[in-house]
């Protein structure tokens, strides 16, 4: 963990570093973060990022609620979280300092643009006194630079307007930070040249700013404050790499699921934060043969996907909690009609509109239990941005193999964060091709595969297989409407058995760190993976008997999970909700698992996991 291994700011050689870029949302902070992440990935480091947007599109400049931040944790070793506390905080205006100052670790480096610390801006940020007079800053390594002026000087000769010139501040800063950590400017320069190809003077200005920032570090002697850090050179596995966000990975995974199932991908979606990025990603892929439909609302979105599934495609719909709530009735139809469908829920803070730009894991109950009737369906969840690729494939596999809607849970953090990803060899993925039924002999729409209990899938356009389905109960033996009592029981059982049967078709639950039995298991799911893993790693390094178990399959739960959990004296379940997986595990196994719950819209810190484990071990 970062904070443990880099106690002094003067250390030149580090294991990993956490930088937090912060500024006004108009300052291009996300861009700086992204480009730094790219250079770092190209350098060969592992990394994890956490973009922290404001809720407003563009809040008035200089206000605290308009502050945008981007945190990156990087280094040669395995990086699993965006880091608990920044080692370096870049604050491009007073509001950014105000919002982020507390997070900086003791002794960390604070870089500020004094040019933006005007009286007006300081007031706007809500400071009573000059922020740099704050005693708390005594313990940090403060670097004050007039980045505004330095940038303007650098670009002055290009002849831009002042406004345009100031836009280069972020790139100047990026140049300096790249220097600090010995990263190459090349990918940034390339990007500038492509991006502004039609505006040569903008290219020129940005390149000058980039180089000036870099040169500033190289040529200026600021004492211990501003210095170059050396991280050990990484030795990642060989292979082809890229960085990927969870949203991209999910979109690609869905497309991969379609290819592996030999179906067309149909997306029906309605924009909602933080799920829209999957829609945006797939919208760029029409030339891959994807049919995209931006519907009038969430209900129409899922219904169009159900229609697509009925017509023989891989139907997908993507949304977030409030949108999924609206889809509930239609999900019931898909369960009743036994049509394959993937429903992706990129969870955000609730209840209701809640905290749209913050992440939470509070839709697990909705996913597992949240429908009228006895309406079981499989639920899967992704743990890291890149994992979204594999989980989307798994969701597609289950949906098509078992003729059922599947809910895939992600969250805002997973969707927006990025990590370097070793591009997998796609040939190693087992295809699961669907064969639509063609044979009229003996056909009825609810004929089931004796093993999976999936009904056969006949598609409009097929002669001789014309049939009618719907949401009313169906006769087990003919598929016609049936109000018969015994038949309803039989069909209810069949729907449960089908979903429960998936247990046999999913991997046994593994222990991703630690022993298969012992004192304490920390059981998690979703985006808390990194924090839990790092936490358990630290505990184990201290010789404590703690294991990390991370679920991909939320429903049905893996066959061996009960026995596995019974092998530990204690089980704790950290979740970003009020205890939803906890409820599920307690009901299933009657084990006194205990929740570690946090509902702040922020991810777990590694230290919080460590502390919770310590407590559990003590009690």
């Amino acid at each position: 963990m970062v904070t443990e291994t880099t106690q002094q700011s003067t250390t030149d050689s580090l294991d990993s570093v956490v930088i937090r870029f912060a500024g006004d949302s108009g300052d291009g902070i996300q861009l700086v973060g992204n480009k730094f992440a790219e250079s770092t990935a190209l350098f060969g480091d592992d990394l994890s990022t956490f973009p922290d947007y404001p809720a407003e599109i563009r809040a008035p400049i200089g206000t605290t609620y308009g502050v945008s931040a981007y945190q990156i944790n990087f280094g040669p070793s395995e990086i699993l979280t965006a880091g608990d506390e920044p080692d370096v905080l870049v604050a491009l205006n007073p509001a950014a300092l105000k919002v982020n100052q507390e997070q900086l670790r003791e002794g960390g480096t604070l870089l500020i643009d004094t040019g933006a610390f005007t009286e007006k801006n300081i007031k706007k940020a809500g400071y009573e006194n000059h922020p740099l007079s704050d005693k708390a800053l005594d313990s940090v390594n403060l670097i004050e630079l007039d980045i505004t002026k330095l940038t303007m000087d650098a670009v002055s000769e290009v002849g831009l307007s002042k406004k345009e010139g100031l836009r280069c501040k972020n790139v100047w800063t990026l140049g300096l930070i790249l220097w600090m950590f010995g990263r190459s400017r090349k990918s940034v320069a390339d990007w500038i040249e492509t991006k502004f190809a039609k505006k040569p003077e903008i290219v020129e200005a940005n390149l000058r700013a980039l180089n000036a920032g870099h040169a500033y570090g190289e040529t200026t002697e600021l004492g211990a404050g501003l210095k170059q850090y050396t991280l050990d050179k990484s030795e990642p596995e060989t292979g082809l790499y890229r960085t990927i966000t969870g949203s991209e990975a999910a979109a690609w995974g869905l497309y991969a699921g379609a290819e592996l199932s030999n179906l067309e991908l149909f997306l029906g979606s309605y924009p909602i934060t933080p799920a829209s990025n999957i829609l945006h990603q797939l919208a760029t892929m029409t030339d891959y043969g994807i049919v995209n439909f931006q519907a009038e609302d969430e209900i129409a979105a899922i219904c169009s996907a159900i229609g697509a599934a009925y017509a023989g495609n891989l139907g997908v719909t993507t949304s977030s909690g409030p949108g999924v709530a609206l889809k509930t009735e239609a999900i019931g139809l898909a369960v009743s009609a036994e049509l394959p469908l993937v429903i992706v829920n990129v969870q955000r803070g609730g209840p209701s509109t809640g905290l749209p730009t913050k992440a939470e894991q509070s839709d697990l109950h909705q996913a597992v239990f949240g429908r009228n009737g006895d309406t079981p369906l499989p639920v899967v969840s992704a743990s890291t941005p890149a994992d979204c690729f594999d989980v989307a494939i798994e969701a597609s596999r289950l949906a098509t193999k078992y003729m059922t809607p599947v809910i895939m849970l992600m969250d805002g953090t997973l969707g927006n964060s990025s990590e370097p990803w070793k591009i997998p060899d796609f040939d190693s993925y087992e295809p699961f091709p669907v064969t639509h039924r063609k044979e009229p002999e003996g056909y009825h729409p609810f004929l089931r595969d004796p093993e999976t209990l999936a009904r056969n899938w006949a598609v409009p356009g097929t002669p001789g297989l014309e049939h009618r389905i719907g949401g009313l109960e169906k006769d087990y033996d003919s598929g016609n409407i049936s109000y018969d009592a015994a038949n309803h029981q039989r069909m209810t059982d069949a729907r449960h058995d089908k979903v429960n049967g998936i247990r046999k078709d999913i991997p046994k639950q593994d222990v991703c760190l630690g022993a298969e039995k012992g004192k304490l298991a920390v059981v998690g799911w979703g985006s808390t993976y990194g924090a839990i893993h790092k936490g358990v790693e630290q505990l184990r390094q201290k010789g404590l008997d703690v294991s990390h178990i991370h679920l991909r399959h939320i429903w049905p739960l893996p066959e061996n999970l009960e026995d596995l959990l019974k092998g530990y004296d204690k089980v704790i379940v950290p979740e970003l909700n009020a205890g939803q997986l906890t409820t599920l595990l307690r009901a299933q196994y009657l084990l006194p698992v205990e929740g570690v719950n946090k509902v702040t819209g922020q991810p777990f810190k590694v230290s919080e996991i460590v502390e919770a484990a310590h407590q559990a071990l003590e009690n």
Binding site: A41, L42, G44, S187, P236, E237, T238, G239, L240, Y241, R242, W252, Y255, A256, E259, E264, F266, G268, M285, T286, D287, Y288, G289, V291, F293, A295, E296, I299, A300, A301, C303, S304, A305, I306, G307, A308, A309, Y310, A311, G312, N313, G315, E329, A330, L333, I423, P424, F426, P460, G461, P463, G464, E466, H467, R468, I469, G470, G471, L472, I481
Partner: protein, 336 residues
């Protein structure tokens, strides 16, 4: 999916399923079903390429009685589900069956959007001015004052006109017919089917149990003729048993006027000629109601545009585009 079908001729029976029809005896739905089963062979439809998608309601049971593909979905959502079907496989003939409650109460939004997007489906709205299946509550098309279990003192809602709504929603094909009038209904169905893009058809359907005779003013076999007008593109807007009535634009205004040919010097050549491509005219015709005006039947409006599914599918899959290509696209680097 373009099935090469054997050339045998189909007939109405080939479009009837083996399920017993379960509407109330005397329900107008029977007549519509019959007409549909007779019409489909006439337009060369194939059961395997035909899909009926419905919501929930008495009317929405329709798909069960057709031997085609059918999907009886959930209340109000048929247009959205049908859009998914059509976008997925544009070769299919997709019919939406809905009611005044299904299509205009809970489902009004999807109706609006399927029409404005111009998805190439046929929407048949069985308007009986009542919620039949749930035992007779008033609907958004019920006449004011209608007493029902949920409006024991008479409904106070001002109703909506399905065709006016469809025209406001930018629909490009709007037509009307009566359940039991086989020939005009059949020809409207044929026109709707032939129209590329969303076709909206309001069918006046009698619910014998909960709202009997609500349309009898103009549907009655004896007296109805004077109260209905069959509009036809390029033909003067006349009606009545002896075609004695006609429509004019009241000079200097934007209002319709009913005239009697032969009276006040009005001759047939004075009568307004129906132009089905004129949305204003269609809107005025749709708004006509008794007792002063006849109810307009037939194709009120038809002005084709690009069907949505064609636009959606305008970008074909590029050769070589697959997951491997995708994984390797964009910015990557190699560690070796």
């Amino acid at each position: 999916m373009n099935m090469i079908s054997p050339p045998e001729e189909l007939n109405a029976k080939d479009f009837a399923s083996d399920q017993e029809v379960r509407w109330c005896p005397g329900c107008g739905d029977y007549a519509i079903l019959k007409t549909m089963q007779k019409t489909l062979p006439e337009i060369g439809a194939r059961p395997e390429n035909t899909v009926f998608v419905s919501g929930i309601g008495c009317s929405s049971r329709f798909p069960y009685y057709m031997s085609t593909y059918g999907f009886h979905t959930i209340h109000g959502r048929a247009p959205a589900i049908a859009s998914g079907v059509k976008l997925s496989n544009p070769e299919l003939d997709v019919w939406i069956i809905t009611g005044d409650g299904d299509g205009l109460s809970i489902g009004g939004n999807h109706m609006l959007h399927v029409l404005r997007r111009n998805v190439n489906v046929q929407v048949l709205l069985f308007n009986n001015e009542i919620y039949g299946l749930t035992k007779g509550q008033y609907s958004p098309t019920s006449k004011p004052g209608l007493r029902t279990p949920s409006s024991p003192l008479g409904s106070i809602d001002s109703p909506i006109s399905p065709c006016a709504f469809a025209l406001g929603a930018n629909a490009r094909f709007v037509a009307r017919a009566i359940d039991i009038a086989h020939k005009p209904l059949s020809s409207v169905l044929k026109r709707a089917h032939a129209h590329k893009g969303a076709s909206f058809v309001e069918i006046f359907q009698n619910c014998v149990v909960f709202n009997d005779q609500t349309f009898s003013d103009f549907t009655d076999k004896k007296t109805g003729a004077d109260n209905q007008i069959h509009v036809e593109h390029g033909t003067p807007l006349t009606w009545g048993k002896d075609n004695q009535y006609g429509l004019l634009i009241k000079p200097g205004t934007l209002e319709l006027q009913k005239v009697t040919i032969g009276e006040d010097g009005v001759t047939e050549s004075d009568i307004l000629v129906h132009d089905e491509t004129n949305r204003t005219m269609a809107t005025m015709l749709a708004a006509m109601e008794g007792p002063d005006f006849p109810v307009a039947l037939g194709v009120l409006f038809c002005d084709p545009g690009t069907p949505y599914e064609e636009a959606v599918r305008a970008v074909p899959k590029a050769p070589g585009k697959n997951v491997k290509q995708l994984l390797a696209s964009g910015k990557t680097w190699t560690v070796d």
